[in-house]
């Protein structure tokens, strides 16, 4: 079976993913993902014989002279990899700008097909494109499609088949008179010398030389013809420079392309000059980007998303929790060895289950983010907020992961993917943990309840959250200035037209994110859960167990039994590796006013922040979730210590699940070490300051 390797190239928001969905919907497709390039292999059979069509989906790029990482991936692939043809996906409703990339692609001199997507929308817009004429001007096949409505897909496959089988037609684009004159001069010379380069025409070689195509110069470097060519090229460029009043060949190329694209559009686009959809977009923008209403509307959307994520997400959470409990009871019943049972039930099922609990939240959140992105609203948010966030070295879009962080850091780290620049993303990832997540709430509630009067409890809680957020912004600035010093990425961002997303695309996005999350839970988090379980359960002191068990058995009073059980737990925890670590690190925590118990509680919180409360309960020998713990804390701790503890909880390392997600999103263990050092330093310094400051007043 013959294999046709097709590279999909196009600007962002031209519906490439939609097209892939439509193409793979007609056949059986397999998807694989690596380093920004999606490879999708699908088998397509034509009436007379079968072809294996391999689709390579490149990240959307506005131009091939680009800077961002994703755009580099596309450029590198197009220039250096082997493939049969380029499928250039184009937005019919914005032909002129899309043609800028098409023209660049044509200069690669590869087989190519142009797919005019959004044919349906163009029609509604009253835009009519003369396909035949466009085909003639570009010199490549043009197919009108609507990936959303599944139209033109068959014709497109036919065209792929046809083009792959036939010889490539030479580039036929007509440049400006100034340029054409120089092209002809060089072409004539190359013809006279009987020169050949690959399967290119000499006209194509001339164009590449004039546009200073690096690869062509490299290839021809050792060719004797260059001695004669250099003076010719220099003369030609001098003419061109004089005409354009600049020596920046990239700028000249862009001007040439812009002029050609304008010319083509004038010739092939009939009908409405002003597309209706654009007018509608501007109308919607006049509300959503309104000077005074814009921000409140955005905040409302965020609030709604937040509510949905953490309110509606909690409904199935109950059921999942019950299911997990039921499951661990059943499994536990089958295991007679108490240590293995503890490992499976408390360690594995408990640890992974805690992560699975968040699956509903993740799904809702991702649906929300996919909606924000595919409708085109996300860019508006960046537009609204960039002014404020840029002052702190962040990007407008950083807002989304940061707000998500108030719920749970795990989805927040994933949400940081909306940021395209690596520096913006890293800075955002580093400060997400300072947005206090839901799991830290019980700790705050406990400590506020113990040390502050009821009337100001709410305000104190609010203050804790605000304090975290302010320090996060300041730290973002710090990271931008001292650590990630890279040049500010310019903020030149398209505000795409508002579009209703297709359900298929939404489903695809939510499904793949949820799958990845589950995969994570099954691997890394599983290992982490086992580790934490081990550290808090071993080494076991058998004698201690025996003594206490005997005591418990001989005691008649139920109350005394409970007390003894808690005492046993405390003794065990104190003895465990976790307890030993806590004691070993006590000197480190001493300047903050923490004793070894608080140290152990903090370290146990690395498993999950909720654990801090239950550990405190065990260590202060009271049953958890009872007001006794507040009493015990009040008796044992002073106000400065309590406040210092709260501050440490705001800033120190996120829990295991979150940390492993951070490591993955940031791109390596190296970053986890940085995160550990960074958060520990911030937490320690802040706690130290608060501890000593409060001491002055108390």
């Amino acid at each position: 079976m013959e294999r046709i390797k097709v590279v999909l190239a196009g600007q962002p928001n031209v519906g490439k993913s939609m097209l892939i969905n439509a193409l793979s919907g007609t056949t059986k497709g397999k998807v694989g993902n690596f380093s920004g390039v999606t490879v999708e292999k699908l088998e397509v059979c034509f009436t007379h014989h079968c072809h294996l069509i391999e689709l390579i989906d490149l990240p959307g790029t506005y131009s091939l002279d680009a800077y961002s990482k994703e755009e580099m991936v596309a450029k590198e692939y197009l220039l250096n990899e082997e493939y049969d043809l380029i499928l250039n996906v184009v937005d019919s409703t914005n032909l002129q700008r899309n043609l800028l990339l098409t023209l660049e692609l044509l200069e690669l001199n590869k087989k190519m097909i142009v797919a005019l997507n959004f044919a349906d929308e163009a029609k509604r817009d009253g835009v009519e494109i003369d396909i035949k004429q466009l085909q003639k001007l570009l010199g490549v096949r043009v197919v009108l499609i609507s990936a959303k409505e599944n139209r033109g897909i068959k014709e497109l496959l036919d065209a792929i088949h046809y083009v792959a089988e036939h010889k490539r037609e030479p580039n036929r684009i007509t440049y400006s008179d100034v340029f054409e004159e120089e092209i002809l001069k060089l072409e004539k010379f190359l013809n006279e010398k009987g020169f050949r380069y690959k399967d290119w025409s000499n006209r194509e070689v001339a164009i590449a030389l004039l546009f200073e195509n690096e690869k062509v110069y490299k290839d021809l470097h050792d060719n004797p013809i260059m001695i004669e060519l250099y003076p010719l090229i220099r003369d030609s460029l001098e003419h061109i420079y004089t005409h354009y009043e600049t020596k920046d060949i990239k700028e000249i190329k862009a001007s040439e392309h812009a002029a050609i694209a304008r010319g083509i559009v004038l010739e092939v686009v009939k009908g409405a000059k002003e597309p209706k959809s654009l007018t509608l977009t501007q109308k919607i923008d006049s509300i959503l980007l309104h000077k005074y209403l814009g921000i409140p509307i955005f905040l409302f959307f965020m609030w709604a998303l937040f509510q949905l994520t953490f309110k509606f997400g909690n409904i199935p959470m109950e059921y999942i929790k019950e299911a997990i409990d039921g499951f661990s009871n059943i499994v536990g019943g089958y295991i007679s060895n108490s240590e293995i049972r503890s490992l499976v039930v408390d360690g594995i099922i408990g640890g992974v289950g805690a992560v699975l609990l968040f699956l509903p939240n993740i799904i809702i959140l991702y649906l929300g983010i996919a909606l924000l992105e595919t409708t085109g609203y996300m860019s508006r948010v960046a537009f609204l907020l960039d002014g404020f966030f840029h002052k702190f070295g962040l990007h407008g879009k950083s807002f989304i992961p940061l707000v998500t962080g108030f719920g749970c850091s795990v989805p927040a780290y994933m949400a940081a993917r909306v940021l395209k620049s690596k520096t913006d993303r890293l800075i955002t990832l580093f400060i997400i943990g300072f947005m206090s997540c839901g799991a830290r709430l019980p700790i705050y509630v406990l400590f506020i309840g113990a040390f502050f009067p009821q009337e100001i409890a709410g305000n104190m809680l609010f203050l804790i959250y605000i304090f975290g957020a302010i320090v996060a912004l300041v730290m973002a600035k710090f990271l931008r200035v001292f650590i990630f010093k890279s040049e500010d990425e310019p903020f030149v961002m398209e505000m795409p037209k508002y579009r209703l997303p297709s359900l298929r695309l939404l489903w695809h996005s939510v499904y793949s994110n949820a799958k990845e999350y589950l995969k994570k839970a099954g691997t890394f988090i599983l290992a982490a859960a086992v580790l934490v379980w081990f550290a808090s359960n071993y080494p076991k002191d058998k004698e201690l167990d025996q003594t206490y068990l005997q005591k418990i058995e001989t005691t008649k009073s139920e109350k005394r039994k409970k007390e003894l059980e808690v005492e046993l737990k405390r003794a065990q925890l104190e003895n465990s590796y976790l307890g030993q670590i806590g004691k070993a690190t006590a000197p480190f925590f001493a300047p903050l006013g923490f004793d070894w118990k608080l140290s152990v509680a903090l370290i146990s919180g690395l498993g999950a922040k909720e654990i801090v409360v239950s550990t405190l309960g065990v260590l202060y020998s009271v049953e958890e979730s009872k007001s006794d713990l507040k009493e015990a804390l009040r008796k044992n701790l002073t106000l400065p210590v309590a406040m210092s503890f709260i501050v440490f909880v705001i800033f120190y390392l996120p829990c295991f699940a979150a940390s492993s997600m951070f490591t993955k999103e940031a791109g390596g263990v190296k970053y986890f070490i940085y995160l550990f050092l960074f958060t520990t330093a911030v937490a320690w310094i802040m706690s130290f300051l608060i501890f000593n400051l409060v001491k002055l007043f108390v």
């Binding site: 800077y67 002014g387 903020f491």
Partner: protein, 78 residues
């Protein structure tokens, strides 16, 4: 005059782009070249961002970066 001297709704013809290569390249790839028409659609809060229209494309720029674009105002409007 500069692009940012235009008021909301006014249009101009791009005369010059005075920017570092990365910013310039980005602008070029959106078809902002000498001679192209550009319209100021709106200014963001505190004028920290600016929304422009080039052809059928709406673009958001930072105010400081938009200062790199020199334009000549198209007369005969408002």
């Amino acid at each position: 005059m500069l692009l940012v001297d235009l008021k909301k709704g006014q249009r101009g013809i791009v005369k010059r782009i005075d920017a570092n290569s990365e910013l310039k390249q980005r602008l070029l790839s959106f078809g902002i070249v000498r001679g192209s028409e550009i319209e100021v659609v709106d200014y963001g809060i505190n004028r920290s961002t600016i929304e422009v229209r080039v052809g059928n494309t709406l673009l958001a720029l930072r105010y400081d970066e938009a200062k790199a674009i020199e334009v000549e105002r198209i007369d005969g409007e408002d």
